[in-house]
Symmetry: C2
DNA sequence: TGTACATCAGTGAACGCGCGTTCACTGATGTAC
DNA sequence: TGTACATCAGTGAACGCGCGTTCACTGATGTAC
């Protein structure tokens, strides 16, 4: 899994920080392409970025630091994606539907990066230091959208926090299960997402 | 992550096949303990099982073969778990609730083995040979449980296949999200699971 | 404007390590006679 | 019952490889004078 794009032209003086972004993008691409089957190595990231392995150490302390940067980058992308999906639509129900569809679409378009967002706390022994959940803004976004529906009298939800949790769970499952079982006879388009949204946010 | 249990006593003649089971158990344990952070190696499996690496080749062709056997073993465990959870209870709604709780509990008790059940088809290029979805019997079980509720007039579902899919998605998400974001303020006990079950299977 | 020089972006060689896999082997155990 | 022998379960050494990380380095580029 090696992508050659011709010989690299090195950054000019003062622009060395550019390489940092290139490394993050290369790592993200590699995560997506290898599909979590084989491990993402520092050397493979360097190859994908078209540089030598030691160059990474100018910008990151080690491999974990690179992956951490990918996670940060991905969660920002997800947040932006959600905001853009609802931008300009004043109707709260339409906004909620759009947000849920956008969440699922983001996950299906970047399944491995999405997965890595949540893979960092698995099996950290309970009680000991965890990484923050970088996808929390996405949950907050769903919660706000449900609350807007309630305030507009469009949702029967009596516990928006729990219903937002239920909806988040369902969207997460949709992404993960469709990624993990692509051959399952999935309902077409966004039908299932809309059903989940309607029932769990208590719309209709 | 190395578990020593004292020196192994080798199997007696004719009982060499026992080692196969021990290797599968060791691999499963290793998957669960390393939490998918570092890769599961053949040598590490051998260390966990208390044998030398070459011994594995008497029972498996390679590392992938071992992991495949773990997947098969785990899905059989899951199916058994579901069947035992509903055994002896004639009420279809109670059976459905029990099955959903059992599904979630199994996933939370073996998060990494559960994950591996679905990790095999991620990023296999679309259209090319996939592994069968070994968790399909679990879906079929949920579907049957919902159909029984419908027949008993206890569910308003008009499309049990889609509703079973929605429920499966939600349970899958519950396991994955609670595993990936353990610090999130989760509702206590099985409350969320019951909510998801009620709304998605259209009970009440 | 010209030039010496410091800085910066990145390279290439080398290290020790754990990996998957192979191969010849060992020694206990059951069986044939 | 005794013993020679085949079989079986597993070992130990060795291989080539890619890995993460270190180190001294190179050569282009901007800057001070």
């Amino acid at each position: 899994v090696e992508t050659t794009e011709g010989p690299r032209t090195r950054n000019r003086r003062g622009e060395g920080a550019r390489l940092r972004e290139e490394i993050i993008r290369a790592a993200a691409r590699l995560i997506e392409e290898t599909g979590g089957q084989e491990p993402v190595t520092l050397r493979a990231i360097a190859r994908t970025a078209g540089i030598t392995a030691p160059s990474i150490y100018s910008h990151f302390t080690d491999l974990g630091d690179v992956l951490e940067a990918v996670v940060t980058s991905t969660s920002q992308l997800l947040a932006t994606h959600l905001e853009q999906a609802v931008a300009g639509d004043p109707d709260p129900v339409a906004r909620l539907h759009a947000a849920c569809r956008a969440y699922a679409r983001f996950g299906l378009e970047h399944p491995q990066q999405y997965r890595v967002l949540f893979a960092r706390n698995a099996r950290v022994p309970p009680g000991r230091p965890r990484k923050p959940i970088t996808a929390m803004p996405a949950f907050a976004f769903l919660l706000g959208a449900i609350q807007a529906c309630v305030e507009a009298g469009r949702s029967r939800s009596t516990d928006p926090v729990e219903d937002a949790t239920a909806l988040w769970v369902a969207l997460h499952g949709y992404v993960g299960l469709q990624t993990g079982a692509p051959d399952f006879p999935w309902p077409p388009d966004d039908h299932l997402i809309d059903t989940l949204t309607d029932r769990l946010a208590r719309l209709e």
